[in-house]
């Protein structure tokens, strides 16, 4: 197989959870609500997906559980910061802490284990689906979860919504100036809350991808900072859907390339490869400038 093709699939795999979470974060931030809590939402999604799949036996219901958990985490953040006047960064941090604590605690309480959950059924993979109709193209889609194309489709859908629809425009308006949006007759709280929920759903799905799409187990703190990377992608993409999309692909590519190289250039110390994706991003930042600023009212409540 061509190395480029391997790299592409690996990039897509690496990008999928980031893509879901980053678009969740993007929706949220465009509506003016800072979302530093993607990490927590992903973690909740990952845990609930396992819980759901374990309890119902169906990974699809597990996915639903994951989405709902993401929404719940997001709702906590949104309620605290939009209704109860909490600083949005603080409430994000609290949600992250809460997710880390609760998932570990519940893992212990529900499954009676520490660290790693039991194995559950995972979502189907692409080649399992393709096999039905045609002969397997020598394992080309091996290990690629069905959630990968879904994630990319969702991202495109979100992009289209933000660009063309009334809902997208109103969402952006709330992020530009809540005062002006209210004066234009929009219910800023409702729009932002719904945006947060939609964002939470996507982030929860991103988490579910990790636990029942990619793996079939939950491991304590399995997101390992991917939520933070997702928000970094939103910022790197300058809050533009296409920008965020490319940023996520770029992160995914750097990560994939570093792994790809690390098993080939074995003479180099492994730590250097582990740091490579971050160094690459940093370099790109240093040579890249764009005009678009964050949503004007990011972090401001009326």
């Amino acid at each position: 197989m061509m190395p480029s093709f391997e790299l592409i699939t690996l990039t897509l795999l690496k990008a999928t959870p980031l893509l879901l979470a980053a678009f969740g974060g993007l929706i949220c931030e465009l509506s003016g609500l800072i979302n530093f809590a993607l990490e927590g939402m992903m973690l909740c999604g990952a845990f609930a997906a396992i819980l759901g799949a374990w309890a119902t036996g169906s990974p699809w219901l597990g996915l639903l559980f994951g989405i709902i958990a993401g929404i719940c985490a997001s709702a906590v953040h949104a309620t605290a910061s939009l209704k109860l006047g909490a600083n949005q960064i603080v409430s994000s941090i609290a949600v992250n802490l809460l997710a880390a604590g609760l998932t570990g605690l519940l893992l212990n309480q529900i499954f009676g284990v520490y660290g790693t959950s039991p194995t559950v059924a995972k979502l189907p993979e692409m080649n399992a689906l393709l096999h039905r109709n045609m002969p397997s193209p020598d394992g080309t889609f091996e290990g690629i979860s069905i959630l990968v194309p879904i994630a990319f489709a969702l991202a495109c859908g979100v992009m289209a919504c933000l660009r063309w629809t009334v809902a997208g425009l109103r969402l952006k308006a709330c992020g530009e100036s809540p005062e002006a949006a209210a004066a234009a007759g929009l219910s800023v709280f409702r729009i932002r809350f719904l945006a947060a929920c939609a964002g939470g759903a996507l982030a929860g799905m991103g988490g579910a991808y990790l636990s029942i799409g990619d793996l079939s187990q939950f491991v304590e703190n399995m997101t390992q900072g991917r939520g933070y990377l997702a928000i970094a992608a939103v910022i790197l993409g300058r809050w533009r859907p296409a920008g965020v999309f490319s940023a996520v692909l770029f992160f995914g590519f750097c990560d994939a390339a570093s792994e790809w190289l690390s098993v080939r250039w074995t003479a180099m110390p492994a730590q250097l490869f582990l740091g490579l994706p971050y160094a690459a991003c940093f370099t790109v930042l240093a040579f890249y400038s764009g005009k678009r600023r964050p949503p004007s009212a990011l972090g401001r409540v009326e």
Binding site: R170, A183, G185, S187, P295
Partner: protein, 514 residues
Amino acid sequence: MAISGAPVVEFRNISKRFGSFHANRNINLCVDQGEIHAISGENGAGKTTLMNMLFGRVMPDAGSVLLRGKPLRMRNPRDAIRAGIGMVPQELLYFPQLSVLENIILGSEPSRAGIIGRRAAEKEVLCLRDAFGFQIDPSLPAGELPFAARRQVELMRMLYRRAEILILDEPTSSLGPGEVEKFLDVLRSFRAGGRTILFISHRLDEVFAVADKITVLRRGSIVRTLESKKTSKSEIARLMVGGDEISCPNAVTEDRNRPAAASEPPPLLEVEGLCVESAGAEPLIKCISFSIAVGEIFGLAGVVGNGQRLLARALSGREKASGGKMTFGGADITRLGIDARLRAGISRLSENPAEEALLPDRPLWENFLLGRQRESKFQKSGIIRKGEAVQFASDLISENGIAAQSPLDPPASLSGGNRQKAALARLFAGSPKLAILEQPSRGLDLHASAGMRDKIFELSRQGTAVIVFSYDLDELLSLCDRIAVIYRGRLMGTIERSLFSRDLLGRWMVGISS
């Protein structure tokens, strides 16, 4: 709409308190269908608060608002909009990164199945724009427009919505004279169409030009409602302050009589061939040259969006000059930054002090201290003398009649006019050698603008040179020794006080050189 007996809008025993401060006290007011009803009052009289209650942006503590005789609970602007009310608020409300088009259509977008119908929207917006003669490109982000153009966007937004009852809170404060005329015409045509308009302005000329009735507010209470035909400017002015008659602003024009200097005063600021670029575009300020003498008051007139802001910012060091030379008191200041120029005595009042000059969430005393914190009066070996600073702030508040309850209040709790007063007070207290004032009278009431004028004259007598940027030709005519007109980034010409001619200036402003 059938004319029923009941007034369109009725305020009944409305009261509103902020903390222990009564912003509105027991307001009773009726507005009839098809009338233009002006609300007048000093800065901080409570006009904006009253209008905000009608639009659902502020909840009254007591009393009710009746619409066509029916009590209506206005919990938020949505309720008001549904009831057919539209408002242009006093402070700018816009979406900086959305395009002008999106700014205008937001909230009542033409759409099919959730998809915005951009084509139809654009057509309608262009129609509206041309009706006013504004020159705004609807695809630009609103945040890139000059301040005054954003105001125009707001007017268009309100008109786009076709509200039956319009609330206009100082809509004309950033319009030039020609635009004001057009705007007033639009208001008249609305009245002819049966719409009801509540209109706030500090310019009595405009008020008398269109209003049917005038209600005067003082310290949160209604003083009286008068028919505009049966009253006079001076009566209104008197009612507003509640005391003796004060001079009307236009009278000041004749008051400006400076003793002719025995010898020509030395030039203070000389600008030669100044060019300023804005973010890589073609030079927006092209080769401007002028000079200002010690104690001179120099006016810069022009239609909105011809580079006034850029020029003011370049003079104060906020924007880098891309060409040309500036000398101040003999020294070359072209390369100096804003801090060095401040130290040399050049201060600027920006056109939007609330965003560009004040710390919204810090107490007033810190706001007044800002920029002078290093003066030995306010610090001792690096430690702030808070007592001195607070005393200084209290003095400024009382001297300038700023309606603040204490120097510990943040500017966010002041009325629009009072924020302007605070920014002006800070600038004047520094006794600069050169004051650059952008729209100094914006939002000020009669009394306060008269005070501001007096202050400028006093400073000029003491040798301070003043540059005034204004869209209001009358204001410039009354203030300045010389007036220049800026058009598309160039100076069209300069005239001396003795040769002032409204006609000529007007022609220059639209780019016709004589």
